[in-house]
Symmetry: C2
Subunit: 235 residues, 2 copies
DNA sequence: GTACCGATAATGGCATACCATTATAGAGAA
DNA sequence: TTCTCTATAATGGTATGCCATTATCGGTAC
């Protein structure tokens, strides 16, 4: 937040929201921790107005919860919530895939294939960073190709809400292998423009990807946030 | 808005939002019409703060569009947008149905059946008001029975956004017959707890319900909003 | 020791003022 | 006439103060 605060310069809400989001996603703020509007505003050298806005935004993103007369607290990542969101996400992507099969141009498919091979390259290099980025890009691209603005928007929202878990979750490399194979199946169905099959493959893929949160791994994530009694101010 | 405005009494944002929503949905404000924040606030005897909030809410509901430095304008209902939203809605309800088939208790299903017969009664009486209300209730109930909070919330949002079209559209009675038959098929599948079939029936039903917007009926709605050169100041 | 009650602090919500940015129209120049 | 530039108005965004509502804690009575 190091910058001057002449009134009128816009974007303060964004800055504050980004700042808080960062800290929450990076697990610097623990679930359940209170985020007192006035105090935080003072610390970040902004007034209550943008702070309130920012907290509302984060609330819609599911990162914080606004308790009446108790202020904002960092939302905890409940495995159940995440599973539910992940399920909806898979449903949406399945629908998107079916639409994409119909709407996508040959060039679109070619581009997607290219991205897929880039990802495969990252996989072979064990380049986690790019692997995950490309993986995300591909999924988003498929949704974009659905051509359904509403679907795209809702998907983006959900995806953001799951980002926190994605970040916290340290995907294990041995899972990549399976994911890659599933991805290939998805791409093959797309190339064949088999809408039903692509939808099914994609949903199956997502189902497996998020399955681990049903098997207790997510709890671990929550646990590791339990340490720390926050000496940091701002808190 | 006829009520006293002692500060502190909460709910002003709701009141303003409801007021504007009502007028927009009822078509008292034409699509494209500007909604000047300050002027409107003055007219409704509130300050900019709750007015801004209300306009933001309506923006998320898709009723108004916030143009940078041009203020809020009543969003026009584009058939395409509505179709897209309706498609997502059907996808979500299909998924909800599949979950409901698994999660619903026998009592839940019995209650749903009861509502269904109530609706049938309204249908036979040509009681449009109750027919539509019960129809909505049933759909919402099915979604609720999915037990997926995220799904429920997203569905509610979309449903709100489509409410405006539902309101504007004057369903013709002869369509009810078909809808009733489809509804019966949905209920039968639920009674049999056949998830796949119920999902399919429900989606088919919704597909038909909204199909008309693909066939030009919605254009009429849009046309009537095309006039507007807004001589009316601020309102 | 427990239950009830009241003081205090924190939060929520609204009003208002100020300033920067941008749209828009009107004046002036080509 | 048309283009450009500038003055003005409108909008967006932020800071701030006030007051009502509610949570929380401590004291008192039983």
């Amino acid at each position: 937040m190091e910058d001057e605060q002449q009134p009128g310069r816009s974007g303060l809400v964004e800055k504050v929201a980004n700042y808080l989001r960062e800290h929450i996603v990076m697990d610097h703020f623990q679930p359940g921790q209170r985020l007192p509007e006035r105090t935080l505003a003072e610390e970040l050298q902004v007034s209550r107005t943008p702070m309130r806005e920012a907290l509302k935004i984060l609330a819609t993103e599911g990162l914080v919860v606004l308790l009446p007369h108790r202020g904002a607290v960092v939302a905890d990542v409940s495995p159940r919530d995440m599973q539910e969101k992940a399920h909806v996400l898979s449903v949406l992507e399945q629908a998107a895939a079916e639409l994409a099969c119909v709407n996508a141009s040959d060039d679109d498919i070619a581009e997607l294939q290219a991205m897929h091979y880039e990802m495969k390259a990252a996989f072979l290099r064990r380049d986690r960073q790019n692997y995950f980025r490309l993986n995300q890009d591909i999924h988003n691209r498929i949704v974009a190709l659905s051509g359904n603005a509403s679907l795209i928007e809702i998907h983006a929202n959900l995806s953001r809400q799951l980002y926190r878990v994605r970040y916290l979750s340290n995907e294990r490399t041995d899972k990549w292998q399976v994911a890659m194979i599933e991805h290939e199946a998805v791409m093959a169905a797309l190339a064949a423009r088999d809408a039903e099959r692509m939808g099914r493959e994609l949903r199956n893929h997502l189902g497996k990807t998020w399955m681990k949160y049903a098997n207790g791994e997510a709890e671990v994530i929550v646990e590791q946030g339990k340490r720390e009694d926050s000496d940091q101010p701002g808190v």
